[in-house]
């Protein structure tokens, strides 16, 4: 009756697109190198890591999470992000039909190896629009310094 709502056109282009996405994800977007602790396609949340002259910025794409349930720890330069995502889908019974269930739910945990020169005491974490952003300052010695010429 309402199959048009959930059937996806499986045209050749859609399949190619899906394959391209799978490849680009498992190889890292844009060919950027992946860390040994970042696993293949399908991990939740997906993580991007960037570096500025003064900090390392970690972005975890984790929509629909209660910020209070997020657990972020740094131990021996390993950043761990864990938490749980509540399920919105109702229990399957005779009255409810489930057509698509692609969104991951339940407990998750991921780890990221940080560069050696970060200062684990200076960390800031913010959660906005479903993206967890963690800024870890570089240690003072690793930050660019201007040397006065006498």
């Amino acid at each position: 009756m309402i199959d048009t709502m959930f059937s996806r056109p499986q045209s050749l282009f859609d399949q190619l697109d899906a394959m391209h996405r799978l490849l680009s994800r498992s190889l890292g977007a844009d060919g950027a190198p992946g860390g040994i602790r970042s696993v293949a396609y399908g991990a939740f949340p997906e993580i991007n890591v960037g570096r500025t002259p003064t900090s390392v910025e970690v972005f975890a794409f984790a929509p629909g999470i209660d910020a209070a349930s997020l657990d972020v720890t740094i131990e021996r330069n390993i950043l761990k992000i864990s938490g749980a995502r509540a399920s919105f889908t109702p229990a399957r019974d005779a009255k409810v039909q489930l057509y698509a269930n692609e969104r991951p739910e339940g407990r998750f945990s991921r780890a990221v190896t940080l560069p050696d020169d970060v200062d684990p005491m200076k960390v800031e974490a913010k959660y906005r629009d479903g993206v967890l952003r963690i800024s870890i300052a570089l240690s003072a010695a690793a930050q660019p310094q201007r040397i006065a010429v006498k």
Binding site: M1, I2, T4, M5, F6, D17, R21, S24, R25, G28, A29, D30, G31, A32, P33, G34, G35, S38, A43, P45, E46, I47, N48, V49, G50, R51, T52, P53, V56, E57, F59, F61, A62, P63, G64, I65, F88, T89, P90, K95, V96, Q97, L98, Y99, A100, N101, E102, R103, P104, P115, Y127, D129, G130, V131, R133
Partner: protein
């Protein structure tokens, strides 16, 4: 590879890049259909829910204030734009759609037309 300085593109000029299909949950109960879509990084201002005839499309641009001098160490995702389109069927009440975006999750509720709601037919014995 041309420009590795960008983790996630935010410039509108690059919005012609191929969009990513957001992961969805869709379920139906007696009153209508509920759709949940994961769109992390999309704010209310950058979300577009459009209805064109029977076509319901959701589109969102990822917006994050990235430091200009940041370079990527690694990136698992490159998702400047989400987009997915669904076809509604006739017994759904397109004018009654409600949309709510919270923490990067879009929740859409599409109610059924009043006459399409299940109704119990009384059987009277004569």
């Amino acid at each position: 590879m041309a420009d590795r300085n960008e983790l996630t593109t935010t410039k509108p000029a690059e919005s012609n890049q191929r969009p990513v299909s957001p992961a969805v949950d869709i379920f139906e109960d007696a009153g209508g259909i509920t759709l949940l879509a994961d769109m992390p990084g999309v704010s209310k201002e950058r979300l577009d829910v459009k209805l064109d005839g029977d076509n319901l499309s959701i589109e969102g641009h990822v917006e994050m204030d990235l430091p200009a001098d940041m370079r990527a160490l690694w990136a698992e995702v490159n998702m400047p734009r989400f987009r997915r389109t669904f076809t509604l069927s006739r017994e759904l009440d397109a004018s009654g759609i409600e949309a709510n975006l919270k923490d990067g999750v879009l929740m859409l509720r599409v109610p059924k037309q009043a006459h399409a709601q299940p109704r119990r037919i009384e059987v009277t014995a004569s």
